[in-house]
């Protein structure tokens, strides 16, 4: 039996399953690239504005690091500079997930065994996965290049940009191919792949931030930026990427030939054999969901570092084009300066993002129920109210803690970089925490839905969050409604960056709303069938 037997069938199967995934990645590539052309055209219509913007950016370490590389005041360079930092990572991420999905995840599920016994060769699954992942990357790059040409950009530069997106995807398909040989589960393989991607990104970022360009030159993400599309198109770097990808694949095949089906090179880490001691409902919920909260805290902290860094530009907000000016006019009020508006807008962004956490916790509550895990717990003396209450306490305290993390990290770092280390952290922290009742009320709507309409609860809680964002001050400025609408809770949160007066009324109102929604949800939960 040839080691590659059945590759065609497996690739067909993988393609079929990718129908629901790959088109979205490709569409994301194309739309990001096109959106940013539109954005640059809209907010920087003239060469003078472009030059002013470029001058601001080039002096700012944070934006240099975020975008990666050197900008010139031209539409094509500016647009791909803005989209590239994101698209190289997206292409790499898609490739890692695709390879793991069709190799190690299949072994985990036992489906690979079924297929291998049905006459497919040892190397066939990996080959099929690599072909599909590489094809997706290729199509993502090619269609993006075509879209850019269609949008009127120069073809050679567009081809180089598309090729750079593809090449990054290929390298990380190779990384994932090696990772799946090393690990014993899909989860570990994904972790290895994404960790490598994270390291590559950080090396590129620090390289650009500190102008230690050798760091960037060692990172596969950096190779994408260094192709410099529309500038001097270093084609040979694409050759380097392709060569590294090929070498990684060769290594993966060599490892594959030396391991058993289902086995890996890195042993799975064992966990604790026992966890004695009594646990209340909150302790139980904490043990079950602390991983999610920790990941959120890390994500919020990273975002807060980014917003504090971007704050270095806030002083020049008045000189910036686009939405910033409108914000200043409409949110500043009589006393607010540019910095206050910036802080206010950032806390609003954090509050909206963190309002997703209770939405996800309601989803977890529902999935605990449908998976049967709730049944196992509720067959113990734990009551429904205490079970759900434990989860909700974690959701409530967790979202408050996340706002605090955002406030402390953003406040302290902002104080260090831009403002006043004594005054800024407490003010920013207070600003973040002032959103706690509003965040809770968004989650509480999901709790009511969970009690009354369990099947629809996930959809309802998402819809509430989306409506909050669409009707609120976050998306409002996009269509000129600067203050949002009074239909969403964040509308009622007083502005602590304004004149400093304190009004407890809105907070009490939001607390009462939260209590009513949660109470109604829990009452309904007590009365209904479970599972």
């Amino acid at each position: 039996m040839s080691a590659l037997a059945g590759t065609r069938t497996l690739a067909g199967l993988a393609l079929r399953r990718e129908r629901a995934v790959a088109p979205w990645w490709i569409a994301l590539n194309m739309s990001m690239a096109l959106l940013l052309i539109g954005y640059i055209q809209r907010v920087m219509p003239t060469d003078a504005v472009k030059a002013a913007y470029t001058a601001v950016i080039s002096r700012n370490t944070f934006f240099q690091a975020l975008g990666g590389g050197f900008v010139e005041p031209r539409l094509d360079v500016l647009a791909t500079w803005r989209s590239g930092g994101f698209l190289y990572v997206a292409s790499a991420f898609a490739a890692v997930m695709c390879v793991v999905r069709h190799t190690r995840a299949e072994e985990d599920a036992g489906r690979a065994e079924l297929l291998r016994a049905a006459g497919t060769g040892r190397r066939a699954p990996l080959t099929a996965a690599l072909l599909v992942a590489a094809g997706t990357s290729l199509l993502g790059g090619l269609l993006t290049a075509l879209a850019l040409v269609a949008a009127g950009l120069e073809p050679v530069g567009s081809a180089a940009y598309g090729a750079a997106i593809t090449a990054v995807g290929w390298v990380f398909a190779g990384v994932a191919a090696v990772a799946v040989q090393l690990s014993r589960t899909a989860r570990t393989a994904t972790t290895i792949g994404l960790f490598t991607l994270g390291v590559a990104y950080v090396m590129r970022y620090i390289g650009d931030a500190t102008r230690q360009y050798w760091l960037k030159a060692l990172s596969p993400i950096g190779w994408g930026h260094l192709v410099r599309p529309y500038q001097d198109e270093r084609w040979w770097l694409l050759g380097l990427s392709a060569g590294v990808a090929a070498a990684l694949c060769a290594l993966a095949y060599a490892l594959l030939d030396r391991r058993d089906l289902g086995a890996g090179m890195v042993p799975e880490r064992l966990g604790p054999a026992s966890a004695p001691g009594p646990r209340g409902p909150v302790g139980t919920a904490w043990r079950l969901h602390r991983g999610l909260l920790a990941r959120w805290a890390a994500g919020v902290a990273v975002l807060a570092i980014a917003t504090a860094g971007a704050g270095t530009l806030a002083g020049q907000l008045a000189a910036m084009p686009g939405i910033a000016q409108g914000l200043l006019r409409n949110m500043g009020g009589p006393t607010g300066g540019a910095l206050d508006v910036y802080q206010r807008y950032m806390t609003l962004i954090f509050a909206h993002v963190i309002a997703l956490y209770p939405v996800l916790m309601v989803r977890r509550l529902r999935s605990e129920e449908t998976s049967g895990r709730a049944e196992t717990l509720l067959a113990t003396p734990l009551t429904r109210l205490r079970w759900a209450g434990g989860h909700l306490a974690l959701a409530g305290l967790g979202s408050a803690a996340l706002l605090a993390v955002a406030g402390v990290v953003h406040g302290v770092l902002y104080g260090l970089l831009v403002g006043d280390l004594a005054a800024d952290p407490p003010r920013v922290l207070a600003g973040m925490l002032s959103h706690v009742p509003a965040v809770w009320s968004v989650g509480a709507a999901g709790v009511l839905a969970y009690g009354l309409l369990p099947r629809a609860s996930v959809a309802v809680s998402w819809a509430v969050w989306i409506l909050t964002a669409v009707l609120g001050q976050l998306a409002g400025p996009l269509y000129g409604m600067w203050a949002g609408t009074p239909l969403e809770p964040f509308h009622y949160v007083p502005d602590v960056f304004g004149d400093g007066s304190f009004d407890a009324g809105p907070y009490l109102l939001l607390f009462a709303l939260t209590a009513a929604l949660v109470g109604g949800g829990l009452l309904a939960l007590r009365r209904r069938d479970l599972g």
Partner: protein, 309 residues
């Protein structure tokens, strides 16, 4: 003596589908009761009603003398439950899950826990996502058996266990029962398991109880299979009332007989001259076939009952 579980005329509908349609179930305190039925017969729904997870539409259910819906929490202190399809939290180790459930039930016997882990060959340090179906089942069994519950509700507890582990489970459960103060409701479609462990059985189909009693009671209602080697042909055997499916191959005759017909049938064999005789009681498989072969005749149903196992 009070009954540990007493259910009568229980009904429950999900939309237009009637899951329970007047089900009766009585489990006496201290007995091991087999709860038999094919998939979809309503076993798990009954158990969920008994656990207070579902609210019955009609009928009466009493668990340890109390209402399972309103008194769920205090009842749960006195029972341990092993679900049929055990799902665990992928990031927790088996040991953590056992202690989590034990802690919620008010503590478990550490020595018993250690002994059970050893017996079931379960590594408590592995994360649940790395466990096989059988391993997850073992986690739930160890958690349930290392506590001190007076009532064990086991919903198909050995699904996913290999035959060796099934034997370990049986042996462990027998030891538990020897203490004499435990009541067990064992739902199953594995008939040999119920035969090996249970005092009484209730057979359900389509949400209704079709038969209940001791194994001896049920056997009394059914046919005995007889195989005999004879010196001459058995004249008139096939014509006897209550004798079925007579097949003759050379000197060997095979037939089934209803209990009242056995006397006449054996007399007939004796006249022909018996050289060898094998008779066996009907297995639960055969009882099962009688109750579930309403659509297919016995011959076809043997294969499907085998496949269902």
């Amino acid at each position: 003596m009070t009954d540990a579980i007493s259910v009568s005329g229980l009904t429950k509908a999900f939309g237009s589908a009637r899951a329970l349609d007047g089900l009766d179930l009585t489990v006496r305190t201290g007995e091991t009761h087999g709860f038999l039925g094919p998939n979809g017969a309503g076993k798990s729904t009954t158990i969920r009603v008994l656990l207070g997870l579902l609210r019955a539409d009609g009928g009466r259910a009493r668990l340890l003398g109390e209402d399972p819906w309103t008194r769920a929490t205090s009842l749960h202190r006195r029972l341990a439950y092993v679900p049929g399809d055990v799902t665990l939290w992928p990031g927790l180790t088996g040991g953590e899950v056992i202690d989590l459930l034990g802690g919620l039930r008010g503590g478990l016997d550490r020595a018993r826990r250690r002994e059970l882990l050893e017996r079931f060959h379960l590594d408590p340090r592995k994360r649940a996502r790395a466990y096989s179906k059988g391993d997850r089942q073992k986690v739930a069994l160890v958690a349930a058996l290392s506590g001190d519950a007076e009532l064990l509700i086991l919903d198909e507890p050995t699904s996913g266990l290999d035959p060796l582990m099934e034997e370990v489970f049986r042996e462990t459960l027998r030891e538990e029962l020897r203490r004499g103060d435990r009541t067990v409701l064992l739902s199953s479609h594995i008939l040999s398991e119920v035969e090996a462990l249970c005092d009484r059985v209730t057979i359900v189909r389509d949400g209704r109880t079709v038969e209940t009693g001791t194994l001896a009671d049920l056997r009394h209602l059914t046919r005995t299979s007889v195989q005999a080697d004879l010196a001459g042909p058995p004249h008139g055997l096939a014509a006897l009332p209550g004798v079925h499916d007579v097949r003759v191959h050379g000197g060997r005759v095979v037939f089934d007989a209803d209990a009242p017909a056995l006397d006449a049938a054996l007399r007939c064999l004796a006249e022909a001259g018996v050289r060898g005789l094998v008779s066996r009681p009907p297995s639960l498989e055969e009882l099962f076939l009688r109750h579930y072969s309403h659509t297919t005749e016995a011959a076809g149903a043997v294969g499907s009952a085998g496949a269902a196992r």
